[in-house]
Amino acid sequence: MEREEDDSVSEVLRDRFRLSTISIAEAEAKRSGMEISEPVVACISDLAFKFTEQLAKDLELFTQHAGRKSANMEDVILCAHRNEHLAALLRSYRDDLKAKEPQSDRKRKKASKKDDRAPEDIVHVPDI
């Protein structure tokens, strides 16, 4: 029964994920002036979902290997280390994200950020 509950939750997530994928894929197809057929989008969405699950597992392993409880940006980049271009892309994205935080008071900001946006920052036990 635990499992069933789990499945229905993952069903909802899968649908939400599919919707996101559809909009991304269609926007991308439009950008290159192409049409994209529905089964192709559905297939890409399934692949991406599996990829997400795999990513979660990888992230967990890397995080634990580093002796941490919380995954950080380095762990994500490590997940893409086999593809140099992808890793470089992610690194530059990470630098962008870092640049958004003010350099001088990053440490202070980290502390205050926890208070401000705790639900987003700290991921704990899910309530399923």
């Binding site: 789990d6 939400r16 996101s20 593809n83 992808l86 892309l89 036990v125 899910p126 399923i128």
Partner: protein, 104 residues
Amino acid sequence: MEEYQTFETDLIHAIFKLVWSRRALERQLLEGTDALDGEVGAGTSKKNRPTSANANALKLSCELLRNFVTEAVQRAATIAEAEGTDKIEATHLERILPQLLLDF
């Protein structure tokens, strides 16, 4: 051009949490801790608490996933274009799939 679409961090977060709590539960069962603990919440025992992620890591994961989807579309689009059609069909995806999966 408008800002590109991407995944919502809370959606990806929810999927990650689901996977992590499932695995935490599995670990707990493997170690033979009593099952009651697992039903209350997968995080009761300190050692088996599910992994978490910080906000930037989630944003980066969204970017990675977005890249996966856009790569798939772009590569398939290239094949479709080479065949002279402007609609991406399943056969085009089939052609690019092996390399795509190797690349991610």
